[in-house]
């Protein structure tokens, strides 16, 4: 049973680094400490831990990593002819650890969300065209799945791609396209066979967002982020931009979702410190009613419990990371890590604002706001995490059916 079968790398370096390893770790730390500046960190996209959906500011940072070859997945799983880089087991582990500690894990392991899918299903032409650019951080993808009538029930999507000679002509609308305003490419799901059963008529495309006929309109979320509506008006996309087989897109999307969830469960740290770390310090330093918050029994219990749940999150993420490094896309384990991590994020936001009392309601740019308003922001931002990337209702059913073999709900 997969639950019993796990292997993780050390959560902290426990003096198992070799001499070379120690040097390499220091080199990584030096660069990250220098380049992960507060300004870079402010770009909230970094907190989302999606290295390949990159804002210009974040892109600059990733370019520096790419120059060292640290953004690139490693050969032989990511072959050298597609931009893969040779790296020892130890270096790989160290990179993963140092990146994970700063909340930027993911890209170095497997080329973001799109990399593994292209690797497994793309044509040779597509692999040679896109994989090296992904490896070098030159491409930023925005996901084009969700529509006004197709979210959790994604298979109901209506965007239509009609074959016309060497192109597809695509019409329709996507919504909640995060990062579409600065991404270079759209990772697009569209219907190519309206007569087939829902799941069997969908194809997956890579679309250059500069293509004529694409309109992007901003939407502002309660979490202070820009997301977008993306309209397709007779947009021509070459057949060679279709990922894999026509009408097989649903299976590729499932894989991509698995990878995405691995990433979503991660610890949202900013420059090495998580909101929880900040809250613990805040409790030690802040007095209320004449005594430090750290002495209030309910505060102690709450923070201790969050610390324990955070430790579990870390271990769940190590498990998914380990499975990914084995070449498995761990659907169940990724769903567990996502549900766990994102609900924990919500609890941290809620309990954090509670601990801060009246200060918990101040916005980031307010006078008197503690901790740069990060806790208030988390409280608002984390609301969408329990349905974004897969509703937790669906996730729990997936976990139970694919993880413990429970029968699926009849449709």
């Amino acid at each position: 049973m997969r639950i019993l079968d796990f292997k993780v790398d050390a959560p902290e370096p426990v003096d198992t680094d070799t001499e070379e390893g120690r040097k390499f770790r220091q080199e990584v730390r030096d660069l990250l400490d220098k380049e992960l500046t507060p300004e870079v960190v402010q770009a909230r996209e970094l907190q989302r831990d999606r290295p390949y959906d990159i804002s210009p500011l974040a892109r600059e940072f990733y370019r520096k990593l790419a120059a060292k070859g640290w953004l690139t997945p490693r050969a032989p799983r990511w072959p050298k002819e597609y931009g893969g880089v040779e790296r020892s087991d130890e270096e790989q582990r160290i990179l993963f650890e140092e990146f994970a500690a700063r909340g930027i894990a993911g890209g170095t392991e497997y080329g973001g969300i799109q990399g593994p899918v292209i690797m497994r299903h793309g044509s040779e032409e597509m692999k040679r065209e896109y994989l090296p650019k992904i490896a070098r951080g030159e491409i930023g993808f925005s996901l084009g799945y969700t529509e006004p009538n197709a979210g959790t029930d994604l298979a109901s999507l209506e965007m239509r791609a009609v074959r016309d000679g060497d192109d597809y002509v695509i019409n329709g609308q996507k919504v909640y396209g995060t990062g579409a305003h600065y991404a270079t490419h759209h990772w697009l799901a569209a219907r190519t066979d309206p007569d087939a059963p829902k799941h069997r008529g969908i194809s997956l495309f890579i679309v250059d967002l500069a293509s004529p006929g694409i309109t992007i309109r901003p939407l502002w979320t309660m979490g202070g982020e820009q997301t977008n509506e993306v309209f397709y008006d007779d947009v021509r996309v070459p057949v060679s931009n279709r990922v894999g087989e026509e009408n097989q897109g649903w299976s590729y999307i499932r894989e991509a979702l698995g990878v995405e969830r691995v990433v979503m469960g991660g610890v949202p740290v900013v420059g090495g410190r998580s909101v929880l770390d900040d809250l613990i310090d805040y409790a030690k330093e802040t007095e209320r009613g004449g005594r430090p918050l750290a002495e209030d029994p309910s505060v102690r219990q709450s923070l201790a419990q969050l610390a324990i749940e955070n430790r579990i999150r870390r271990l769940f993420n190590y498990r998914t990371g380990w499975l990914m490094r084995k070449g498995i896309i761990p659907e169940v384990e990724a769903a567990i890590a996502k549900v766990w991590g994102n609900e924990l994020d919500q609890r941290i936001g809620h309990i954090g604002t509670q601990i801060m009392g009246l200060y918990g309601q101040l916005e980031p740019d307010s006078k008197w706001v503690p901790l740069d308003g990060r806790v208030e922001h988390r409280y608002l931002f984390t609301v969408h995490l329990s349905y974004g990337g897969g509703s937790h209702e669906l996730m729990r059913s997936l976990i139970a059916t694919r993880g413990m073999g429970l029968p699926r709900e009849p449709r």
């Binding site: 292997k7 219990q301 729990r396 429970l406």
Partner: protein
């Protein structure tokens, strides 16, 4: 760090599971709840022959020299099977304390006999104040002509009624620092002056009130050093706490499995119980609780095996598992409905044991408080 079980541990796990499913069926477990002694001597002897009773002791003391990780694997299977009997009392509480505190001679004499199943030990620590801290040790041992006289009541002591030797933790000196002046004495269980009454407990485990009425104990029966008992005791309690977590993980895993299986068989409204999303969600929540419990416990066990600092991990594990195992049994009860509520079913066994284990060696609140301290959220005056 490598969480993968090595080959020997895999073999131990499989062997233990096979052995216990054959030798410790649920009918036996239920029978032993009523039984005065609480375990079949024949089973105890077989476990001794398998080397289980000495798994954790070094070879020079008659053991197998196993690691804490090996022990966790074994304990998990014992928890899964609801194994009755004095393993925890004798090997963990008693045996590990002797290992941590005893003189060379005490270790050689006692541990060998424990490993061979020839004697049963237990640790008499808690008192009516029901606390695990040093200040709560109030039973006194007063010096008298080279001997010590022990007077007072110990409460919630497991298997005291059958223990050959009771390790009694008593106060030998009073002062401003409660940790100083605590001494552990080896007391023959059959000695006059000891009055043992079994308590009736939720899990049917054999917890006793043990009254020491002017019990005379020679000086040579001090385990370790006079007045210095607290440090090895604290270490033993940490190890025992983690051992308890391993046992609990086994029980939780079993509840998850039988509940999931049940949802596949049971038909309601013309379809499988497990095809309803609400039930699927219960099972998913149980899976996450079990996984989290397992990972925290095994991370701590690995660190303990490697001699790395792990008190934070042990406190986290017990805090978490205390609540998680309870939640899992509550969801299990909900999934089974009425049939799981009848005492002959397996669910009550686990439901009861989960609560007992939650309360033993510190519950969630107790250990969360320690986690808070480890996080540097210091108490006033600390």
């Amino acid at each position: 760090m490598d969480f993968d079980l090595n080959e020997e541990q895999e073999m131990l796990k499989t062997a233990a599971r096979d052995f216990l499913s054959k030798e410790c069926p649920k009918a036996l477990v239920k029978e032993m709840v009523q039984d005065e002694r609480g375990y079949p001597p024949e089973l105890w002897r077989k476990m001794a022959d398998l080397g289980w009773l000495g798994l954790i002791f070094p070879e020079e003391y008659g053991g197998l020299g196993g690691s804490f990780l090996d022990l966790a694997v074994l304990l998990e299977e014992m928890g899964r099977a609801c194994l009755p009997g004095p393993f925890f009392s004798s090997v963990i509480l008693g045996g590990l304390f002797i290992l941590n505190a005893g003189t060379e001679k005490q270790k050689r004499d006692l541990l060998t006999q424990v490993a061979q199943g020839k004697i049963i030990l237990t640790l008499a620590l808690t008192e009516p104040s029901a606390s695990y801290d040093a200040a709560s040790v109030e039973v006194e041992a007063v010096c008298d002509n080279g001997d010590f006289i022990i007077n007072g009541t110990k409460l919630f002591i497991p298997d005291a009624h059958i223990a050959d030797q009771i390790i009694c933790v008593a106060r030998t000196k009073k002062g401003t620092v409660p940790e100083r002046g605590i001494t552990a004495f080896l007391v023959d269980g059959a000695v006059p002056g000891i009055n043992c009454t079994m308590l009736k407990t939720i899990a049917g485990d054999k917890l006793c009130e043990v009254i020491f009425n002017k019990v005379r104990v020679p000086k040579k029966n001090i385990v370790g050093e006079l007045d210095q008992g607290w440090a090895p005791l604290e270490k033993t309690l940490q190890q025992a706490t983690l051992a308890k977590c391993a046992e609990m993980v086994g029980g939780a895993q079993q509840v998850l499995e039988i509940s999931a299986d049940y949802t596949k068989e049971r038909i309601v409204f013309g379809r499988s119980l497990g095809s309803f999303p609400v039930i699927q969600h219960y099972v998913a929540n149980m899976m996450m609780d079990v996984d989290g419990s397992r990972f925290l416990t095994y991370e701590a066990a690995w660190k303990l095996s490697e001699g790395l600092p792990c008190w934070m991990e042990i406190h986290m594990a017990k805090a978490w598992v205390s609540d998680a195992y309870r939640r899992v049994t509550a969801l299990g009860q909900q999934i089974f409905g009425g049939v799981g509520f009848i005492e002959v079913h397996d669910m009550p066994l686990y439901f009861r044991r989960a609560k007992a284990a939650e309360l033993t060696l510190g519950d969630g609140n107790f250990h969360r408080e320690w986690v808070a301290r480890q996080l540097g959220l210091h108490e006033k005056g600390a």
